[in-house]
Amino acid sequence: MTNDDLIAKLKTIVAPYIQDEEAFKNLSEDTDFVSDLKINSANLVDIILDIEDEFDIRLENEDMEKMLDVKSAMEIVNTKLSA
């Protein structure tokens, strides 16, 4: 999967939770889930579950703690997919 494909998939996953449309439109690797997209931090848990379902992977508590922006999400998903 190319990075662009992955970003597109992540974008679809986070769409229901975002509170900042502008930041969402300009979503890139550097976008932060909470400070840029204004996602309620409680919803990060739901995003993790949606990512698990989409990619058929399992994310551990340690992965969750690191997954705060698009870049870290991509790294973790790529690591899991190649494992």
């Binding site: 229901p16 939770y17 409680a42 919803n43 848990v45 739901d46 579950l49 698990e52």
Partner: protein, 424 residues
């Protein structure tokens, strides 16, 4: 000096009508909201009928964001929020997520239990060892104060925000708690009400107790028969009712419409003594609750024109009527008009008090007595106490000033409130 308290907003989600105009129409025409539920039959319920408000997905989307509706499975919170938002708008306010925090308005919204279907979902996942996959909203949807948490955030309320719970007394108690807070100057406005989930997981325990009727699965509309000789148990209902209580001063200052004045009331408990049990009332405590409510309202018993009773359609209806006759020292043709909203909506459990307080206020404002449907055959024990005409089976136009509403609940708890017509 204590503040006078009036009602400036109403919102209702009832089995026989959603919204004030639809519910008012239903009350006037004696419309039943009881229907057959295949789900209950499939689960081997004795009672396979119930009252469930009609809330479409389109209505849900008017009140909740798509995000709020993700994984949402709590009908009580759904009903509570819709009724609360409607009452708030009816009182002349907006729902605006950017609104200033309103420290002058609080919220007391009761329930018996919250999000039982969501809880069931969670238990299944949890028992499979999948606690990590519950998602973020199980706590919010299943905590008793979930409805208050959702609603206060939607409206930006900054005074006391809480949830009370006292079985079938809940809604009437919530109203009196809010009333006292305004009366004592702790808040200008209180949004009060109560809600109850629908469905087998709330109703099952009652079915097991054999207190719900099993004789009307084929004729749901005539199933709920309070005060009737052929009453054979209550019919379960669900929904929510909400009222905006406001100091008279604040209501006049804002120049808004006033539905009625809350004169006062009383809450007490029979302590499961003198015949009272977990499920049966202590008659003396019921009578005391009514007389104290009248005393606290600076009224006399003979000033009560109409009673909206608790009257569930069990064998206890006659005892309730007897309690009223003793508390008021009025009987026969001297007895006030009396009705039971449950004949149309069933017993909405924790939501009953609020839904029936609304029914009372609407009758007072619109000057009519709603019909007791399914009560053509008045129970002989009741007919021995009061005149047949006092329990109308057809809508009755009536110019009147005071209506009493009482609710009684498991645990031997009681609440009674008096509403007076407000004429500016």
């Amino acid at each position: 000096m204590k503040n006078r308290v009036v009602i400036t907003g109403l919102g209702i989600v009832a089995p026989n009508g959603v919204g004030i105009s639809e519910f008012t129409k239903a009350l006037k025409s004696g419309k039943s909201g009881i229907t057959f539920h295949q789900e209950l039959a499939d689960l081997n319920f004795s009672c396979q009928i119930g009252g469930v408000p009609n809330i479409t997905d389109a209505i849900k989307s008017e009140y909740f964001t798509d995000l709020q509706l993700r994984g949402f499975n709590s009908s009580g919170i759904l009903y509570g929020c819709i009724s609360g938002i409607d009452a708030w708008k009816d009182a002349g306010f907006n729902m605006d997520s950017e609104s200033d925090l309103d420290y002058d308005t609080g919220l007391i919204f009761g329930t018996g239990t919250s999000g039982v279907e969501k809880f069931r979902e969670a238990i299944y996942k949890l028992d499979e060892g999948n606690v990590r996959r519950l998602g973020s909203t199980v706590v919010l949807q299943t905590m008793a104060s979930g409805v208050s948490a959702y609603l206060s955030g939607m409206l930006g309320l900054g005074n006391q925000v809480t949830t009370n719970s006292s079985a079938c007394t809940t809604g009437t108690e919530a109203l009196l708690m809010g009333f006292e807070r305004i009366q004592n100057g702790k808040a200008k406005r209180m949004l009060v009400g109560s809600c109850s989930d629908h469905g087998p997981y709330v109703w099952g325990g009652f079915d097991a107790m054999r207190v719900m009727t099993y004789k009307h699965n084929n004729n749901p509309e005539s199933s709920s028969r309070p005060m009737s000789a052929t009453a054979s148990g209550f019919v379960p209902g669900s929904g929510a009712g909400a009222l905006v209580l406001e100091s008279l001063e604040s209501a006049i200052e804002r120049g808004v419409k006033i539905y009625a004045e809350v004169l006062g009331g009383e809450v007490n408990s029979g302590g499961q003594r003198q015949g009272g049990t977990l499920t049966a009332p202590n008659a003396e405590a019921v009578q005391r609750c009514i007389t104290k409510a009248i005393e606290n309202s600076d009224l006399h018993a003979d000033e009560i024109d109409v009673i909206n009773g608790h009257l569930t359609a069990t064998s206890k209806d006659a005892l309730e009527v007897e309690n009223w006759t003793k508390a008021l020292k009025r009987e026969g043709e001297d007895f006030p008009y009396m009705n039971s909203t449950k004949s149309m909506v069933g017993h909405c459990l924790a939501a009953a008090g609020a839904i029936e307080c609304l029914a009372s206020v609407i009758q007072l404002k619109e000057q009519f007595v709603a019909p007791n449907i399914n009560c053509e055959d008045l129970h002989p024990e009741i007919e021995a106490l009061v005149n047949r005409e006092q329990i109308p089976t057809q809508k009755k136009e009536l110019n009147f000033d005071v209506i009493a509403k009482a609710s009684f609940g498991f645990g031997d708890v009681n609440a009674c409130v008096l509403f007076k017509r407000y004429i500016a």
